[in-house]
């Protein structure tokens, strides 16, 4: 599935590692273990080094993403407005930690430093939708809505919902 990507890059050229990782992740949404080994062989680096690079940068993921990606803002304004509790409520409800994906692959929780919507803090996004002025009580309702959707919404205009 990703073999055509290798053709774009010269073999045994370790400087091409990061672009290759980016391209492979673009296909799968994450970096599968087997692909990592193939990349290592192709650029001529030990797997340990490729794994080191893949875990160093935030942009790379080693586990698949869920259907719905929840990004919880932990920026200053949201922090003041108790976003820690929102995150905790999400983690408890989904039984995963930030950075992880539920076993049914429905949800992934990520932490974002600032989403840039401080006026509606505390805020989180689910896929492209913004949910602002959240309280802990809103969390179950929001999750329920996305639990039933099978595919992430791909709307041109992101929705903004205020609780």
């Amino acid at each position: 599935m990703h073999n055509h990507i290798f053709e774009k890059y010269p073999a045994k050229d370790k400087s091409q590692l990061i672009p290759l990782l980016q391209d492979v992740q673009a296909i799968y949404g994450y970096l599968p273990e087997l692909a990592l080994q193939e990349i290592a062989d192709y650029v001529g680096l030990p797997l340990s080094r490729v794994y080191g690079v893949a875990t160093f940068y935030n942009q790379f993921r080693l586990t698949p993403l869920g259907e719905n990606i929840i990004r919880v803002c932990r920026g200053t304004a949201c922090h003041v407005k108790n976003s820690a509790n929102i995150l905790y409520a999400l983690e408890s409800a989904l039984k995963i930690k930030a950075g992880e994906t539920t076993r049914d692959r429905k949800f992934t929780i990520e932490i974002v430093a600032c989403i840039g919507a401080c006026s509606i803090a505390p805020v989180m996004t689910v896929n492209d939708d913004y949910h602002g002025r959240l309280t802990v009580k809103d969390v179950p309702t929001i999750l329920k809505k996305y639990q039933t959707t099978t595919k992430p919404k791909a709307s041109a205009e992101p929705e903004v919902k205020l609780a």
């Binding site: 030990p46 340990s48 160093f56």
Partner: protein, 570 residues
């Protein structure tokens, strides 16, 4: 040449030299942690910081080249305070269990803590917790004790060209580990232990077999036999502050007897036996069109490397077991029969300079029926611990000699511990076997020394034998490429995993003293030079063993007991 001033001392240094080396040349010592001699500077730890006049910040002396007129201060309050803070931060994120640590009194972090006078805990905060990786048969990794200096990573990647471990994650979560943190056992690691030798703390260490050995010694039903590798006698003394390269064979044998071993044998005996088998195998391959070149097989790290990475090479590797495995096999067959012992009652302990030998002894095919040839392997370091525990005062021990018949050996076996040794020993015997004459000069200087790859051509009765010696697994790649492509001109190639070979093995004493490899090497060549018999085929006990048991080298029985097989583990 460049002239500079360090601590008011005028120093003439070569252009391109680092401040660290220039200071060392006039007796000024600067502490280092991440620095490794002969590798490109890393500059990660900053413990070598110094002040340079006209420069704002502190300068890492390990990475900064000297300049004309430079004025350096290595011992100002600012420098000392910066270094102390670095040590304090490292210590605070390090387990405080020095008293029960295997590297107690031989730890660079401990030394720095003492040197910079740490007397209180000034920082406190989160400290990392990591599981210990005990997955491999030879080594343990304890990331909690890791100070992230990166020396193990660099040796593994840049010297050994293995790359089993690397820095993973980022910031506080950084950890040196194997891919996916799966453990050494399922990584590319060949267990050579070179990382242990450079680790400043106990984050990397051997998996100790001392308990098993102690239990066997107290078990009345076990007939415990110990054998010692050629390289151990040349390094053991270092642990007792003797000069590098002191030969302590005599005291070592006495010490082992006092530990309670019934017999103290010498792996050098089976090194001679290995030569008889290996030289015969080589001649057979040359004369009968077998797979050439033939590679040596005494280094289990090399064998493991080939099995994991280059299975196509396996038919080229000599089928001979490594010497200590041969010794074990002979003990549990010939010797057991001769002495009227039950093979299953014999417990063979090997004292080795090596960590891979622990893994090797656990390989299923290295066994007689279901009994392992060797029951336990301990390293030079573990033996010293055992001596200390047993109250054996090494310095004052009288000399003793090995038991016979499996203790007799020649000079050819003695040099097995150093790079080129197997080659030299094998050629002494192969020359005789092919030509019927002895070599005029037994010292084959061409295969000695510390070059990465040494080669020579030897004319034996009109037959030119091309040989190569690979010193360090990091240098084997191009040679294997040639062999795989069918372009290799060599007949016989010695490959050893550790740079300098067993004298610098992963189980040897840990210190960063200069010239340790060269001096240990000299000790082994001295033992060889002092020997009356210097060729394996002159070993009387080996001759008797063939007469009474194996009939001749490479006989059917020898194949059954002294040879082994390899597996594709790619």
């Amino acid at each position: 040449m460049v002239q500079l001033t360090i601590n008011n001392i005028k120093v003439n240094a070569e252009a391109g030299m680092t401040i660290l080396d220039a200071a060392k040349s006039v007796g000024i010592s600067i502490p280092t942690l991440c620095h490794l001699k002969n590798l490109f500077p890393s500059g990660a730890c900053r413990i070598c910081s110094v002040e340079v006049e006209g420069m704002r910040g502190l300068i890492p002396s390990c990475a900064y080249p000297v300049n004309e007129g430079m004025v350096v201060e290595t011992n100002t309050p600012r420098v000392r305070s910066a270094r102390k803070t670095i040590v304090e931060l490292l210590v605070e994120n390090h387990p405080q269990d020095c008293l029960i640590c295997v590297r107690n009194k031989n730890c660079e972090l401990q030394n720095l803590s003492e040197q910079y006078g740490l007397r209180e805990h000034r920082y406190s905060g989160e400290s990392k917790e990591h599981a210990i990786d005990v997955s491999s048969a030879s080594m343990e990794r304890d990331p909690a004790k890791c100070i992230l200096c990166g020396r193990c990573v660099r040796v593994c990647h840049e010297v050994q060209h293995i790359g089993a471990i690397d820095f993973t994650n980022r910031g506080f979560n950084t950890i040196v580990t194997t891919p996916y943190n799966k453990g050494l056992n399922i990584s590319d690691c060949i267990l050579c232990g070179q990382c242990i030798l450079v680790c400043p703390t106990a984050a990397l260490r051997e998996k100790s077999a001392l308990k098993d050995v102690a239990n066997a010694l107290k078990n009345k039903n076990k007939y415990t036999i110990v054998q010692v590798a050629p390289a151990v006698r040349a390094t053991l003394g270092e642990e007792y502050n003797m000069p590098l390269g002191t030969d302590v064979t005599g005291q070592m044998v006495t010490g082992l007897r006092r530990l309670g071993f019934k017999k103290v044998f010498d792996t050098n005996f089976s090194a001679d036996l290995t030569i008889m088998e290996e030289a015969t195998e080589l001649i057979h391959r040359i004369q009968n069109g077998g797979s050439l070149p033939m590679f040596t097989s005494c280094c289990p790290g090399w064998v493991k490397y080939a099995e994991h990475n280059r299975p196509e090479i396996l038919p080229h590797i000599s089928t001979c077991k490594s010497p200590h495995e041969m010794e074990g096999a002979v003990l549990k067959t010939y010797y057991a029969k001769k002495m009227g012992l039950k093979p299953e009652d014999i417990y063979v302990v090997s004292v080795m300079p090596c960590t891979v030998k622990k893994y090797e002894s656990a390989r299923g095919e290295l066994a007689e029926q279901t009994m392992a040839d060797v029951d336990a392997v301990i390293t030079t370091r573990e033996l010293v611990r055992f001596f200390k525990m047993a109250g054996i005062d090494f310095d004052d021990l009288p000399q003793d000699s090995f038991d016979n018949p499996l203790g007799e050996s020649t000079g050819a076996a003695a040099i097995f511990g150093t790079s080129g040794g197997v080659m030299e020993a094998a050629l002494r015997t192969a020359y005789f076997k092919i030509s019927g004459k002895e070599l005029d000069n037994l010292d084959l200087e061409a295969v000695r020394g510390l070059d990465n790859v040494k080669e020579a051509s030897i004319d034996i009765n009109g037959l030119t034998v091309n040989i190569a010696v690979v010193n360090g697994i990091g240098n084997v790649g191009p040679i294997l490429d040639d062999v795989a492509a069918g372009k290799s001109k060599y007949h016989f190639i010695e490959v050893m995993t550790c740079p300098g070979r067993c004298i610098n093995g992963g189980g040897q004493p840990i210190h960063q003293k200069q010239d340790k490899v060269v001096k240990r090497m000299k000790a082994l060549y001295q033992i060889d030079a002092n020997m009356k018999l210097r060729k394996s085929h002159d070993n009387e006990s080996v001759k008797t063993l063939y007469k009474e048991f194996f009939i001749e080298p490479n006989s059917h029985k020898a194949h059954e007991i002294l040879h082994t097989e390899y597996f594709d583990r790619k």
